[in-house]
Symmetry: C2
Subunit: 325 residues, 2 copies
Amino acid sequence: MRIAVIGATGLVGRKMLELLCKKGFDLFGKIECFASEKSDGKKIKIGGKTFKIKALVEQNLGENYDFALFSAGSEIAKKWAQIFVDKGAYVIDNSSAFRRTGNALVVPEINFKSINSKIIANPNCSTIGASLPIFALSKLGKIKRIIISTYQSVSGAGNKGVNDLKNKINIKFNYQINNNLIPQIDVFLDNGYTFEEDKMNYELNKILNNEIKISTTCVRVPILNCHSESINIEFETKPDIKRVLKALKNQQGITVLDDISKNVYPMPIVANGKSGVFVGRIRQDISNENAINIFVCFDNLLKGASLNAIQIMEKLIENSKNNKK
Amino acid sequence: MRIAVIGATGLVGRKMLELLCKKGFDLFGKIECFASEKSDGKKIKIGGKTFKIKALVEQNLGENYDFALFSAGSEIAKKWAQIFVDKGAYVIDNSSAFRRTGNALVVPEINFKSINSKIIANPNCSTIGASLPIFALSKLGKIKRIIISTYQSVSGAGNKGVNDLKNKINIKFNYQINNNLIPQIDVFLDNGYTFEEDKMNYELNKILNNEIKISTTCVRVPILNCHSESINIEFETKPDIKRVLKALKNQQGITVLDDISKNVYPMPIVANGKSGVFVGRIRQDISNENAINIFVCFDNLLKGASLNAIQIMEKLIENSKNNKK
């Protein structure tokens, strides 16, 4: 098993390496790390292991790979994905390069079967967190409309985002993020929504193979890691709140944290470093009997990025083993 | 003019003193400061001026007052409001003691005329911020439903809330607030909403003399001062977005900050220390043609508390002058 991690010095790339080691892929296979030329020769320590970074240039590439995990932005993905596919790899890309193309956009608990080529797109972090509860709830009845307001951590903007908050500086974001919030993530579109907000709408419907009407407001908050989302889901008919709870509890990938008698609900300090999407504050909407409110929190670097990619990889490995039997 | 400030050592009480001095009430009248017995004899410096705190006990009270500005919690308000009224004062109370009674709940730009007794309730901070844009928009057509998610600063929880964030401790809140968010403000009710969320629903409709269906999710975020709110407003019929913009711009108390071509929108660093309610991210909701989204930010200690109270007082003074003419 030969795995390439492209963008290994980034926050998501590093989490990918951590997860690969945790899952033993370093023991039974070879992990190669690529990044930009300025990182050539750098070393990354994960646990007791040291990974040497190579510049992503033709001569540093091996002859064949099983998987190439990309987290290096759209431009790199567009340039290098096919090269790795030609060397035999499945490419799982964390950028937006292949999300709106014919490629599958995958949350493995939801639509693994949609994979139709060797290049697979990993969804946007805030999309992944919302997708699991919405998928679980879509089984209860037709969803008419969803309204989301997000509380997104700075790690979603990578190392530079974290540095802005940690050092109380203002390099990555448009404005200071320390002791502030910024109701803009990514660029603005003509309709007044940001591209991040548009991603939630487009990507959720592509993953769910649905046409739900979704309006999102994305907000950066001064939290190092873990995205939260306040989500209002309106069904065509009145949902039974017990069935809502059951559907969420039964959904693989979701951990329900909802006991208001003990002040239990999802929060970044709970979700940080964990695999699941945490869901709580589950309640009937008092403004519309067909709607419910939920509050979601998840580690945007894990399930929102690296973990989702590696779960896709693991499921591909499992499938190929089953096919060989 | 004799003014009593009750709860003068609190965050809101102190802001009241600052505003009273700024507006010259210390020059043309007497300001007396009251707090709990443990603060007796303490001094508060505002600009060049020193205010001495007296314990709130019968023998420390003067014979008559024109205004008593309370920000000392419900119990103190219930016990002392009528005593100050009996000494001739208008009482403007920042607690929840008189918000759901027969007393008027006042945002002076909206419903000053509802004042029906000498005890006047100042609304909850998050309510005041939402009330002005909703009032302005309610003139455009019948509002069917409102969905709000808040981003509330720690100063809304007073000195102790600020200390929790500043010192990275966990005394005031249920959980650490530094590098975290807490999707609970105030206690939970049987319907799964918090009392803070219930306040938004109840108080907004009382102020607007309306029966709008409102669902709110209130979240504490690690920001020292200024509350923000992501608000979705659904009308009975499709609103004209130009008229929406005009209504917001024309509303006294609102400053529209909305130029996405220049990344201009409301943020805590903009609203901090300012009088107005800032509104931006104004856009047609893509999930429902009858709805719009807005993002609101305001200084919760100023317009959300002290300033609103003092604006009520100023309007009462103006009215009494006009009546004498």
